[in-house]
């Protein structure tokens, strides 16, 4: 019997370019005894294209899904993609705060949405509902070579009145989760800097310059990979890395992993089932260092013993010199 149950709305990206986010997220949540229920006949969340044209239409697209979830009898939906999440929250809060807006939206959809669904990111349920302690308990493996720059992107915690999660300017939830599973996290100041988002289509050069800044700051912070929680951030940082190199004359080669993939690796899941092979910039070299926690403990003990022996020898040498 699973401990927790949520509706799980994957959204379009996780069926396509971000399928590895979906694979890894589901496996990690399964390991954490979370039961996920996929809403029947879900549709577009109403993200970017709709809300640039019409807020009612955008909310209606989201509310159609929320209405389906409401009928499933689940009060919380967990959403891996921040863009979907933001669309859901905007629709929900907009309808809750304005009765006439709610009526306009409900007029457009078959079944009305009555405001009974809470939307949370998968990051939020791991951080707040499941908790760091539970997340840490499932760890079987260590990644000693990894130094991760946690990258949250623009909308996971902002605007604060919509996101209602973590610190809007200095989020720490992903940092804490990664630290809980034993991964080294760098002190990264560009956690929220713009990745260029969907401007990759109309203004590719601008996006490449923005991504270059994020990559360079990650390297400056001492990281050798970046953890993300957003399909679009992942795409801009990973897929466009060669474009960045071509445009800026740089030589970046930084793996961009979903935070769920990193957590999955520490849970002993295979790179294949976590979709690591689907990344453009290969992470294979980095994760080859993976060992079990027992091995890590042995290595640590051995290193300590060696250090002790070295110190003892130093002391011995010192006394000898003093004697002579």
């Amino acid at each position: 019997m699973a401990e927790r149950e949520y509706a799980y709305y994957s959204g379009c990206s996780l069926e396509g370019t971000a399928v590895e986010y979906d694979m890894s997220m589901k496996l990690v949540l399964e390991a954490l005894d979370v039961n996920l229920k996929e809403p029947e006949d879900w549709s577009c969340c109403g993200s970017t294209p709709a809300h640039t044209v019409d807020h009612v239409l955008a909310a209606a697209l989201a509310a159609r899904n929320l209405s389906i979830i409401e009928k499933m009898g689940t009060d919380t939906v967990t959403v891996p993609c921040p863009s979907c999440l933001s669309a859901f929250k905007r629709a929900h809060l907009g309808m809750a705060g304005d009765a006439s807006f709610k009526d306009q939206v409900n007029d457009l959809i078959d079944e009305p949405y009555n405001g009974g669904v809470i939307s949370k990111s998968t990051l939020q349920i791991m951080y707040e509902d499941i908790g760091l302690e539970e997340v840490a308990k499932k760890v079987t493996h260590a990644l000693p070579d990894l130094v991760v720059a946690p990258y949250y992107g623009c909308i996971l915690t902002r605007p604060p009145e919509i996101a209602q999660f973590d610190d809007p300017e200095n989020p720490v939830s992903m940092d804490k989760i990664l630290e809980a599973v034993g991964v080294k996290v760098s002190s990264f100041v560009f956690k929220l800097e713009c990745c260029g988002a969907a401007f990759g289509v109309p203004k590719r050069d601008m996006v490449n310059r923005l991504t270059a800044k994020v990559l360079s700051m990650a390297l400056d912070s001492g990281a050798n990979c970046i953890a993300v929680a957003c399909p679009l951030c992942q795409q801009n940082l990973d897929l466009r890395q060669s474009q960045v190199n071509a445009l800026m004359g740089t030589n970046y080669n930084i793996p961009i992993l979903y935070f769920s993939q990193i957590v999955g690796l520490t849970y002993g899941l295979t790179p294949k089932e976590l979709g690591i092979d689907k990344l453009i910039v290969s992470a294979d070299d980095l994760i080859r260092s993976r060992i079990t926690v027992e091995e890590l403990a042995q290595n640590k003990a051995a290193a300590e013993a060696e250090e002790k022996a070295r110190k003892a020898k130093q002391k011995e040498d010192k006394t000898k010199t003093e004697e002579t």
Binding site: E169, V189, D220
Partner: protein, 653 residues
């Protein structure tokens, strides 16, 4: 009963949206009204003369003036009818300006409402009784709360005028914020050099009694006769024995104590004298850091002190002082850096506040006047100033301008160049606000002579990159984004009310605004008075202001006290509660509800217990009248009968 009604046009303020002639005509139909008229400005000299003449000509014995708020002119018209031989409490005002003409544009509705309002006033006036003031003695001592420059100026002016002054300062030394500044704009004269002598005068003046490291605990009484409880906080050092030698401070092992005087820009010792010019120059222990208090053992200062002044057992002490007037100069606070997550929320050591930078510039500061950045104690070559950090920012809850930041940033930019000639300053600003004498020339000098680069635009974020702080902002004149790699960033953090300002206001029974600043009696005409008789304001407690304005207010408040104390006797307000001893059952619930302690128990000759109101203490709030189960306690001038007469009038159709 012959009531006279005077409807004021107040230019077009009232007549613009009320048919004043119609109101007057309607009043003439009201039984008891012998005369009704309307006039352009009733408060003007001819307007007042008309009232006086009408009283004589028409033999009027009650007067109703329908005009502005009684707050504005009740006293004016009371004096007018008194001159014509009527008791001043025979006046009644109907506020048809603030309550009617200013708030609605529908002339017909306004006129109807005005008619009802004036009718109510007529009904009340007909029930008004003559009341007579008592006179009482004034205690000619003054309490000044706050020993910053405004409070010290007020204290010195009062004392020089011969008044005894009690000066209460909550920190261990007088001087306030000004004592922390390095130089002052626009003259670049040394702040402590001009303030120090004043501090010494305060300490040495035989009319001034200084309570440093003390707070006002409780205030009882009324204008002319206040009883003040002052809490002398425990310093753990006997200030009679302490010579201020500083030996304890040198030897104290608790070296990482928070330095309140330096706003934490560098640590201090747990036992310390805040700064070399401190008045009084005495040591004080911070029990949050002292090892004797935290760990229960140390005692180094007790061993080292040559006069044996250390006393770890010291307790707070309550002292009572009687005064006749109070000047509140309790100063200001600064918004916390954690309000600015986009600027690092205080996490980056090289992002500091303006007052912290002031301490780095100051020769008696922690770096002895060498500008060294906090992280690595190196000299910054590029300094970025961010003005309006919080000010004029609704998202911070601070919509107002902090008044003096534009000027001190210009000053700090000039001083930075003086200290480090090969440095470059950048100032991000919204507007440059420099309206004082010589101020605009000063900000121009910072730009033209000292090469400070002024960038018009807001800073969106600050982040560290290696040893530099990258400041990202907009240049709205060029329409581009700008990034400056700075060594040090100075935020001009917004001025807020002093911590605890609302609580002090409640003790004083004075009003404060949404932001905690104290409200003056009138924004233009009574700038240092409050609406509570005997309580005056000076300095930033009333709102952000610079040194000249604070000093001006300190002197102004002192002169107001002098004027108050020029009389030996004051007149009490007779509009206070009165007990009808025949109907009082002696339940004494009124004693429990009176917020001023004005009701006392009284034994009649037959041994019956009744309530008794001390007229001079009663503030006339009326809480007791609402409490009394048998209507025995009545507020004069607002009795049940008087108020019911008004209610009956509007209920009749």
């Amino acid at each position: 009963m012959r009531v006279g009604v005077f409807i004021c046009h107040c230019g077009s303020n009232i007549a613009g949206t009320i048919d004043v002639a119609k109101v007057a005509a309607e009043m003439r139909k009201v039984p008891g009204v012998a005369f009704a008229t309307n006039y352009m400005y009733t408060c003007s000299e001819p307007g007042q003369d008309e009232i006086k003449e009408a009283i004589k000509r028409e033999k009027l014995n009650r007067i109703v003036v329908a005009a502005c708020s009684p707050r504005m002119h009740e006293l004016t018209f009371r004096r007018t009818i008194e001159k014509a031989g009527l008791n001043r409490y025979f006046l009644e005002m109907a506020n048809i300006r603030e309550h009617i003409s200013w708030i609605g544009l529908d002339k017909e509705a306004n006129t109807n409402k005005a008619i009802e309002s004036v009718k109510m006033a007529v009904a009340k006036a007909m029930n008004n009784k003559p009341l007579y003031s008592q006179s009482f003695k004034v205690n000619k001592r003054v309490l000044v709360i706050g020993g910053g420059v405004a409070g010290m100026q007020a204290a010195l002016d009062c004392a020089d005028g011969g008044l005894e002054v009690i000066l209460v300062e909550k920190s261990p030394s007088v001087g306030g914020m000004m004592a922390r500044l390095d130089k002052t704009f626009p003259t670049i004269d040394c702040s402590i050099c001009i303030l120090g002598p004043k501090m010494v005068d305060v300490a040495q003046h035989d009319k001034i009694k200084l309570y440093a490291y003390s707070e006002v605990d409780d205030i009882k009484g009324y204008v002319g006769n206040y009883q003040i409880k002052i809490k002398k906080k425990a310093t753990y050092v006997d200030w009679v024995k302490c010579t201020g030698c500083g030996a304890c401070m040198e030897k104290c092992p608790a070296k990482n104590s928070y330095d309140h005087f330096n706003f934490g820009v560098a640590p201090t010792r747990a036992i310390n004298i805040p700064f070399p010019q401190a008045i009084p120059k005495k040591a004080k222990i911070d029990p949050n850091y002292c090892r004797q208090f935290v760990k229960g053992k140390c005692g180094v200062c007790a061993k080292i002190c040559p006069t044996g002044a250390i006393n770890y057992e010291m307790q707070d002490e309550i002292i009572t002082e009687d005064v006749g007037a109070i000047i509140v100069a309790s100063g200001y606070g600064l918004v916390d850096m954690d309000k600015f997550p986009e600027y690092g929320a205080g996490r980056y050591p090289d992002v500091i506040t303006g007052i912290q930078y002031e301490r780095l510039l100051n020769a008696s500061g922690p770096t002895e006047g060498h500008i060294l950045r906090p992280s690595d104690k190196t000299e910054p070559k590029t300094v970025v100033f961010v003005s309006c950090a919080g000010s004029r920012d609704k998202s911070c809850g601070i919509p107002y301008c902090s008044n003096f930041c534009c000027m001190y940033i210009a000053k700090q930019a000039i001083l930075t160049k003086d200290h480090i000639p090969d440095s470059q300053s950048y100032v991000f600003y919204m507007d440059i606000r420099s309206p004082g004498k010589g101020y605009d020339e000063f900000t121009r000098r910072a730009q033209e002579d000292y090469g400070a680069k002024y960038v018009r635009g807001r800073v969106s974020r600050i982040y560290p990159k290696g040893k530099k702080m990258v400041v990202v902002g907009a240049d709205t004149l060029l329409g581009t984004q700008v990034e400056v790699e700075a060594d040090l960033v100075v935020l001009a953090t917004a001025v807020t009310a002093a911590p605890g300002a609302p609580q002090l206001a409640e003790k004083l029974h004075i009003s404060y605004d949404t932001f905690g600043f104290y409200v003056e009696g009138h924004p233009k005409l009574r700038p240092v008075e409050t609406n509570t008789a005997g309580v005056y304001l000076a300095g930033c407690a009333q709102g952000p202001k610079d040194i000249p304005a604070s000093v001006g207010q300190g002197s102004a408040a002192a002169s107001k006290v002098q004027a108050l104390f020029s009389k030996d006797m004051l007149e009490s307000d007779p509009a206070v509660a009165k007990v009808n001893e025949n109907t009082c059952v002696g339940c004494l619930k009124c004693i429990m509800t009176c917020p001023f302690g004005a009701v006392k128990e009284k034994e009649l000759r037959g041994g019956r217990i009744v309530a008794n109101v001390i007229e001079t203490v009663c503030a006339g709030c009326g809480v007791c009248t609402a409490t009394c189960p048998c209507g025995a306690i009545q507020l004069s001038h607002f009795t049940d009968n008087q108020l019911l007469a008004e209610v009956n009038t509007i209920c009749q159709k």
